[in-house]
Symmetry: C2
Subunit: 265 residues, 2 copies
């Protein structure tokens, strides 16, 4: 079993990713993002994204109910449907799901979020952001047993049944854990984990389990920090290997599975 | 087995519909529309809906690729996710699907559509409208067997694997047929089939199979014509009864199943 997460950032070649997904023979679950397109459509709808920073330095998107609707429109509506369409054209019997379907991705809503703005700590209310705590994968195993390829998108659902905006990398890690996947491939618009984020020649090909904390602390930018944290959590719960691969190149999944990019674990 | 279709027109009380769905004890598939909201979001995105009329007098929405993306955003993204959320809050383990997932709703794309504009017949190209010809319900039966309630939205998929805009009532009829459903309930923003579309006191409580053609020919407005055509097709392929019910009232499904509205068949 493999879980592949493909990001939604500019530069990732989704056609390459999906063509390569269609080539895989092992059972596979695809998790996707759509962050770049979300920003575009939000602007078009007159509701530009508002990013905030937590006291510990992580950035995240403010998600009021209207933003959440735009989120599901772009992720579950446009992007997920187009991915399933493309996979169907490639002969793969794909089924699109969000974390809300069958309570696939369940977690805790953080109704009050502490943010730092203009140097001061504030509380943000009416926000629908959360953190995935478990994957109810019986829906996935039911579909996999019948030969379908699940294509999973955030959002998730809270224990109280509310739609919540969650991190896609963590969604993939929690699913990989719950399915007992041997490998988790996370594709983004870089060759992998870079010592210097601006210099692609500084790719670090391998990080041991013991070295992740140091990598998080010393090198990484924000988005990469989150990816490393996700990798760390996945390894902790039993995923064999996490590979940060390049989503811009042909056959990106195959390349990652052969050890290109950054192999963690 | 019951199939319920709820329209997306103004006036339908979706909370009433979903609360009543949660009360049903028979296995059930819900099919939904979102036409009113689609028009709103299309306007917001600067792409107002363009309706055209066929030579035989039916109106339909022009669906270029951009319109199709807005369609999936509203139907599969916003509306479907909110319906699944609400059902989950009501304790129903719902799973949202479009006709593209697992090729659930398959049909023929009409790449060239004949329309009448300014009194002249024209050909419209680059359109992604189609007609559902079959439902591959193995995905639905798999989910129903596991206790999930499927929530199905257009679009469908063409034999060539393209996403196509299709009629929601027909989607419900084809699913009801393929599942061998005893009854198909179609909820809209009227009490049922009205002799005079502007006068709700002219409800026709019952139409026999033999009387449908006459009703289509003599009484109905455009949208109601389509509903009657859908009902006729459903009855022809073996659905026992089609009920046109009022989606604005409390317990709309229960009321329809008890014979309120217009019972056809």
């Amino acid at each position: 079993m493999i879980v592949v997460k493909t990001g939604g950032s500019r530069g990732i070649n989704l056609d390459y990713v999906l063509e390569d997904i269609a080539r895989q023979t092992e059972p596979l679950v695809l998790v996707h993002g759509a962050s770049d397109e979300l920003n575009q459509i939000s602007e078009q709808l007159g509701k530009p994204p508002r990013m905030v920073t937590s006291p510990s330095g992580y950035t995240s998107r403010v998600t009021d109910p209207e933003t959440l609707d735009i989120f599901t429109m772009v992720y579950c509506g446009k992007r997920n449907t187009r991915i399933v369409e493309k996979l169907q054209q490639l002969g793969v019997n794909a089924v699109g799901l969000s974390g809300v379907d069958g309570r696939l991705l369940e977690g805790r809503r953080k109704p009050n979020i502490r943010i730092v703005e203009d140097g001061r700590t504030k509380i943000l209310r009416d926000d629908y952001t959360g953190r995935i705590e478990k994957a109810n994968v019986s829906l996935l195993t039911t579909l996999l047993d019948q030969g379908y390829l699940p294509v999973v998108s955030p959002p998730a659902i809270s224990y109280e049944g509310e739609v919540i905006n969650v991190d896609g990398d963590r969604a993939a890690a929690v699913i990989a854990d719950a399915l007992g996947a041997a490998r988790l491939v996370i594709l983004s618009n870089t060759p992998g984990f870079l010592e210097d984020a601006d210099d692609e020649s500084t790719l670090i090909p391998r990080i041991s389990r013991d070295g992740i904390d140091e990598a998080i602390a010393t090198h990484a930018r924000d988005r990469m920090k989150k990816k490393l944290l996700g990798a760390k959590e996945a390894l902790e719960v039993g995923v064999g290997q996490v590979i940060l691969g390049d989503g811009r190149i042909p056959e990106p999944v195959t390349a990652a599975l052969r050890g290109s990019g950054t192999v963690i674990g």
